[in-house]
């Protein structure tokens, strides 16, 4: 195949924005977008709530400054302040740009883009389209990419980065529809493969494919990961499936109540109540449950999200998707009954370590979106800041790659690499020595992570988690792929995804163990306070001998001094 100027791995919000911006920057470039699912199916479509930007349409006194401050404070001061500045000052531009290209934003009476309050934000600055914001943004970007004639390789699964010393030659991927392993020689590669929170499996709001493939591929290729221990739990996952009831429900005025009928948030965030930041609300729910004030059921303990007082009209007009989900997956109509919820793994703050232009340490390799870590979210992401992150940094990475790809000479990917990969994948199909079913391993991984590296963590539990993960990695050697065909072999794909999750789970657990403090989403019951002296720094992971080696990186400070984080 002819070498590409840019190969973008991932067709979510980050990948598509990168593609568009790269085309805009230099229409002459040869750009490809690869995605393991059709781009419009990417997990960006699941984001319901909205994207933050200080447009000041709703609260006239809102400013970019305030947005910056909220984000830094929300991150528990682990975000890099220069990156946050980029994020927030680009925000109004990016939202308007989306409007200009056709995103259907909800509107206010004065015809400007509507905004609503969202957790951890001082002003109502979350721009939305009913409760389908991510879906409509993704549709718009996909449509625009089709308009611009972006070349898509749909249903291609990225396997490996082909590396030559300190630089990449391009990507090795599998055409899912044919099973063929193909080379994508490229001057630059942008990873935009989304998050890794699905490793918590049944206690995760994520799609089945949010398995951190990009992070695992780069990590194995020698590129460092950053802040992996920070996994955000969303307070309101549905009890049975882990699926999410968005913050929008609380933004519109929903109550959280316990078995005693109390609005228990008054104990934890008397001022903001239900609209406190996510980590705090999640911990509050978990505490209520641990202290025995939850409801009990065969599917586990839970609390109530009560929307009934909003009335049928508001629920139907502003939260239709949420209502549908409660009915389909939980059998509850929020108009008539409170919704059973508990915290669910939702977002991965950690990811591929990049600079403010999305560049990794390896020349020609970029990352953006949830799979990257700039970092703008630090130890905890604010609701509505992630869509913003993928858009802003997707665009920046796209432009950077378009501008820089001229610097790199095209190289080809050796045939031998493809053949070797083919052999490796085929080996899973050998009956001899292969007897484990991936399904069981996947469930056990989710279980041990939820129990031992979940919301509340402590040394002994995390160590248990690490032992479990190691054992699972050992068992993984014996996983059998029963489908021996080439065409659309989802059996093989799910095994490869499991491998990625196992590698990354090890970094999450290792980071959780070394970080002996509590910060943002990372809560150590044995180290309950933030320890700025020792731990105001990023963790960085490189793979050595198949296991993570941990290093550190300073946090870039700016205008805002460290403060205690209260709401």
């Amino acid at each position: 195949m002819k070498p590409f100027d840019i190969v973008i791995v991932g067709g979510g919000g980050a990948g598509l924005y990168a593609a568009m911006e790269a085309m805009k920057t230099n229409p002459g470039l040869n750009i490809a977008v690869l995605s393991k699912i059709y781009p419009n199916r990417s997990h960006t479509s699941a984001a319901q709530g909205g994207a933050n930007a200080a447009l000041a349409n709703k609260a006239k006194d809102d400013t970019v400054e305030m947005h910056i401050f909220d984000t830094i404070k929300g991150s528990d001061y682990l975000a890099d302040q220069d990156a946050v500045e980029v994020l927030c000052s680009e925000a109004p531009k990016i939202i308007r740009e989306l409007d200009n290209m056709g995103t259907p934003w909800s509107r206010m009476d004065d015809k400007t883009i509507a905004q609503r309050p969202f957790g951890g934000a001082g002003r109502p600055r979350c721009c939305y389209c009913a409760d389908k914001t991510g879906h409509t943004i993704l549709q718009t970007l996909y449509e625009q990419c089709l308009r611009k004639g972006v070349i898509f390789f749909n249903e291609y699964f990225a396997l490996d980065l082909s590396v030559d010393g300190s630089r990449s030659r391009g990507l090795v991927a599998m055409n899912i529809k044919t099973g063929k392993i193909e080379a994508f020689p490229a001057k630059t590669v942008i990873f935009a493969t989304g998050g890794y929170a699905k490793m918590y499996w049944n206690r995760s709001s994520n799609a089945a494919g949010n398995t951190g493939d990009g992070q695992a591929i780069t990590y194995r290729a020698g590129i460092p990961l950053k802040d992996m221990e920070f996994v955000q739990f969303h307070p309101t996952g549905l009890r049975k499936s882990g699926l999410l009831v968005t913050e929008g429900a609380r933004g519109e005025g929903g109550y959280l109540t316990n078995a005693l009928g109390e609005r228990f948030m008054k104990r934890y965030a008397p001022e903001k109540m239900e609209l406190g930041p996510r980590d705090l609300v999640s911990r509050s729910l978990e505490t209520e449950i641990l202290e025995g004030r939850g409801f009990d059921s065969p599917a586990g303990k839970y609390l109530h999200l009560d929307l009934r007082h909003l009335g049928a009209d508001i629920i139907k007009s502003r939260l239709p998707q949420i209502r549908e989900m409660c009915m389909y997956f939980e059998g509850v109509d929020p108009i008539d009954d409170p919704v059973p919820v508990r915290p669910t793994a939702h977002y991965s703050m950690g990811g591929i370590d990049t600079d403010n232009l999305g560049r990794t340490v390896m020349q020609g390799v970029y990352a953006a979106g949830e799979c990257g870590c700039v970092s703008v979210h630090g130890a905890n992401r604010l609701g509505g800041n992630s869509l913003l992150d993928i858009l802003v940094f997707g665009r920046i990475a796209g432009r950077a790659a378009a501008e820089e790809c001229g610097k790199f000479n095209p190289t080809s990917i050796p045939e031998g690499e493809l053949a070797e990969k083919e052999l490796e994948l085929r080996s899973f199909m050998q009956p001899k020595g292969h007897y484990e079913r991936y399904g069981a391993l996947r469930e056990e991984l989710g279980h041990t992570l939820g129990m031992n590296v979940g919301i509340f963590r402590e040394a002994s539990k995390i160590k248990q988690g690490i032992t479990d993960i190691e054992r699972l990695k050992e068992r993984f050697q014996h996983v059998r792929v029963f489908d021996t065909g080439d065409i659309y072999n989802t059996n093989l794909l799910q095994v490869l995804e499991l491998k990625n999750m196992l590698d990354l789970a090890e970094t999450v657990a290792a980071g959780a163990l070394v970080r002996e403090e509590s910060r943002g989403s990372h809560t150590r019951t044995d180290f309950p306070t933030r320890d700025d002296e020792k731990w105001h720094k990023h963790t960085v992971y490189t793979m050595e001998g198949g296991h993570p080696k941990i290093g550190y990186k300073p946090v870039t400070m700016g205008r805002y001094e460290l403060q205690e984080r209260t709401y």
């Binding site: 199916r41 479509s45 015809k111 499936s241 389909y328 792929v481 659309y488 989802t490």
Partner: protein, 345 residues
């Protein structure tokens, strides 16, 4: 039988999934595999077939991603109807099963088959491209990001519902005309085209419309409403199809397509006779030459059976036609006034 046994019986039971299998690499033709598993009430079809894949037969192939009814991956035909596996309750399907306890699961129709429950989506994407299913902004790209368009609630509502579409292709699978001709535009693409055409920020309305009135376009729809009844997001797809037709007649008149002429002929007849003059409908829809060539042989057979519609002078005008004609005129003047009002705004 005590209450608790009834309850127990209701809570879990054996369910057989009769799944369409076909792997073109090894199979010469499709067949069905039966998987019987014990399930608890409250489980979705997707979770059930996931269970089969994980524990019984890992080669069973289907698409699934979000498991939450938002990504559109998992559409398949369950008991003969196209729908999302992840939002379909097994117990609901058991009620509909033709053979007790057996749920039939098959791939979508009208799209090329790949393997088991997976079909090719590229043709649909191709049609989205063909019919420019994107907003081509009134604002030049260089100016993007500087200021927002002002969009009223009413303008937003014009396309709001249509943007719910998750491109699951359930409606595509059930479409009558697509089944009869693969080139047909497809309901989802008509819906998206409509959504773009009513967007006040778009600049290529006329061009898109011109494409939609060509062969295999909007006039080929037989308004069977299957797409609308199938839609997994309850989108009134036919409103979009009617909307495009109304728009086409209003802006392009009735000259360019037979479908539009067909529609207009109804109006004429009602005004003149209060009845449809079926005998001349083909001529007015498709022209004389077409009628002679295509319908004459059939007409001959029909005459033999005394079945042809009466020629125009023999169609008795409906009783009270004078009153109707007057009323019709009066309404025409109302409509004229509505138009003036609209363009004056």
């Amino acid at each position: 039988m005590s209450d608790s046994t009834i309850q127990h019986h209701e809570e879990s039971r054996d369910v057989t999934f009769r799944v369409h299998r076909f792997n073109p690499q090894v199979d010469s033709k499709p067949y069905f595999d039966d998987y019987t598993i014990r399930l608890e009430k409250g489980i979705t079809v997707l979770r059930a077939i996931n269970y089969i894949k994980e524990h019984v037969d890992s080669s069973l192939t289907f698409r699934a991603f979000c498991q939450a009814g938002i990504c559109g991956s998992c559409a398949m035909r369950i008991n003969g109807m196209s729908k999302l596996a992840c939002t379909t309750q097994v117990w609901d399907e058991l009620d509909k099963a033709r053979e007790p306890g057996v749920i039939k699961v098959e791939p979508l129709r009208n799209l090329p088959h790949i393997k088991d429950l997976v079909v090719e989506m590229d043709p649909l994407v191709g049609k989205m491209q063909k019919y420019s299913n994107w907003v081509d902004s009134k604002m030049p790209e260089e100016q993007w990001g500087k200021k927002e368009f002002l969009v009223s609630e009413e303008e937003f509502l014009a396309y709001d519902k249509a943007t719910d579409c998750i491109l699951c292709a359930s409606c595509v699978s059930e479409c009558t005309i697509l089944r009869a001709h693969k080139e047909y535009v497809s309901p989802a693409v008509l819906l998206k085209s409509y959504r773009m055409n009513v967007d006040s920020r778009d600049s290529i309305h006329d061009q898109r419309l011109a494409g939609l009135v060509q062969d295999h376009g909007v006039w080929d729809c037989t308004h069977c409403y299957r797409c609308q009844e199938t839609c997994v997001k309850n989108i009134p797809i036919m409103d979009a199809i009617h909307g495009i037709r109304e728009d086409a007649i209003e802006r392009r008149g009735t000259k360019d397509t037979s479908g539009a002429r067909h529609a207009e002929a109804f109006m004429e007849d009602i005004e003149k006779k209060g009845k449809l003059v079926e005998a001349t409908l083909p001529i007015r829809t498709n022209g004389l030459a077409w009628t002679l060539k295509n319908l004459l042989p059939m007409a001959f057979k029909m005459v033999m059976k005394r079945r042809t519609p009466p020629p125009p002078p023999l169609v008795k005008a409906s009783k009270g036609i004078d009153a109707l004609r007057k009323e019709f005129k009066e309404m025409t003047s109302h409509v004229g006034k509505d138009h003036e009002k609209k363009s004056g705004e």
